[in-house]
Structures are given as structure tokens and as C-alpha cells.
Amino acid sequence: MVPLSYYLLLSSILFACGVAGFLIKRNIITIFMSIELMLNGVNLSFVAFAAHWHRLSGQVFVFFVMVVAAAEAAVGLAIIISVYRTRETLNVDQVNLLKL
């Protein structure tokens, strides 16, 4: 028997790693991957709770999360490509034209 809290702990570790990567990394693509990692962590907790409460809607929600993640990945990478075309860099610190 694996207690629910173990799954939650794992989920939070993954989420925390995702946040850390998002804050630390300078490469846009790596930042994006950290976002995906965060989403995965959340997915795990959804499924764990679904199992805990015997409700299938948790898994259905994971399904939707994945759909959204896919759409977001597609559009996001397209943006990254067009930014790369204009700025010639993948360093997020140099995409700062909105600086006040």
C-alpha cells in the first residue's frame, strides 16, 4: 500500500523542479520544458486523487490538460521560432524590449 501522500510528495517535487527550472534557466526552450514538467507534476496529483476518491473525472481532466499542453507547446514553440528570427538569440534576458 502506497499512501496517497507519497504520490503527492512526488508530484510536488516535480512541480518544484519545474518552477526552479523556470526561474533559473536562461534558454527559452528549457524554460518551456520546465513548464511541461510542472504540468506533468500536476497531472500526477490529479490521477492520484482520482484513484483515492474513486472518481474517474480526475483522469478525464488529465486528458484535457494534455490537450491544452499540446496546443500550448505548438503555439509557444512557434513564438519562440519567430522571436529567434528577429532577435537571433535564445537567451531570455535579451528579449527585453519592454523594459521601462
Binding site: 500500500m1 501522500s5 510536488s12 514538467l37 473525472s57 483522469q59 496546443a71
Partner: protein, 173 residues
């Protein structure tokens, strides 16, 4: 020490190792590959929880499509290694201990309630038939909306990623 626990710990270790590696690696392709490893391990976790449809979807869509997209983009843009700068050194110096402390805190909070619930193996069998039933009954509207969402995403991605010269050539023709 049941098999369930051993398997959970194994998959969990791979997840965590992959996540940490994603942070540690300097080249984005290495990070991408570790992310794929994470996703694979997560699929295993889902199976342990009895969510077979979700596990399959995870491998097919997430690891198989999205991550491939990432890898293609990395290769297209020829992203290089990140440099070691003063900022990143500071980040490691501060961030790693910080993360460890935060993580310990969360772990302690969560594990205090370890007796509250359990998730036995295959407790909830999420076979495709059941999922399909839910999708097309209670969650019909979100389902349809997501299909539109995907359509928009496709169009947006195409518009954003098209090379400008290609558009002009088409116009001039």
C-alpha cells in the same frame, strides 16, 4: 515492502532524477531527453494507479509528440549551451539549498498525513471505455471546445512560424 512500493519508488526515483537533470544540464537537448525520461517514468506511475488510458496517452502524446516537437525545435534553432555566468552561479548557490529546504518542508507536511489515504494498485481502473463514456457524456462540451482549441493552435502556430520571405514570395507570385 510490497512490490507496489518498490515499483513506485523506482519510477519515482527516475522521475526525480530526470527532473533534477533537466535543471542541471546546460545543453537544452540533454534537458529534453531527461524530460522524456521523466514522462516515461510518469507513465509507469499512472499504470500503478490503474490509469491505463492516461498512461498510454502520456506516452503517445506527451512523450511521443510534444517532446519530439521540442527536440525538432532545438535542432532547428541550433540552440547551444548556456554559458556559466555570475548570475547562474549565484542561482545555484542560493537555489539548491533553498530548494532542499523547501522540499523538506513540504515533505514533512505531506508525510505527516501519511495515514489519511491510500492508493492501492489498480484501485481505479481507467479503461478507455469508461473514459470514453465520461468524455462523451458529462464532458462533451469541454471535449468539443478542446477540438476547436487545437484547431486554433494549429492555425496560430502556422501563422507564427511561417518564414516572412515565404509570404512575400506567395504575394509576389
Amino acid at each position: 515492502m510490497s512490490l507496489h512500493l518498490i515499483l513506485f519508488l523506482t519510477f519515482g526515483a527516475v522521475c526525480v532524477a530526470g527532473a533534477v537533470n533537466l535543471l542541471a544540464q546546460r545543453h537544452p537537448i540533454n534537458s529534453a531527453l531527461s524530460l522524456i525520461a521523466v514522462m516515461g517514468a510518469l507513465a509507469g506511475e499512472y499504470l500503478l494507479l490503474g490509469a491505463e488510458f492516461v498512461a498510454a496517452i502520456q506516452l503517445i502524446v506527451y512523450a511521443g509528440a510534444i517532446m519530439v516537437l521540442f527536440v525538432f525545435t532545438i535542432m532547428l534553432l541550433n540552440a547551444g549551451e548556456e554559458e556559466r555566468t555570475k548570475g547562474s552561479r549565484v542561482a545555484i548557490l542560493l537555489g539548491v539549498p533553498g530548494m532542499l529546504i523547501g522540499g523538506t518542508l513540504v515533505a514533512w507536511v505531506l508525510l505527516r498525513h501519511s495515514g489519511t489515504g491510500s492508493a492501492p494498485v489498480g484501485a481505479l481502473l481507467g479503461d478507455p471505455k469508461m473514459i470514453g463514456q465520461l468524455l462523451f457524456h458529462e464532458f462533451l462540451l469541454p471535449f468539443e471546445v478542446t477540438s476547436i482549441l487545437i484547431l486554433i493552435a494549429i492555425m496560430g502556430a502556422v501563422v507564427l512560424a511561417t518564414k516572412p520571405e515565404a509570404t512575400e514570395k506567395r504575394k509576389a507570385r
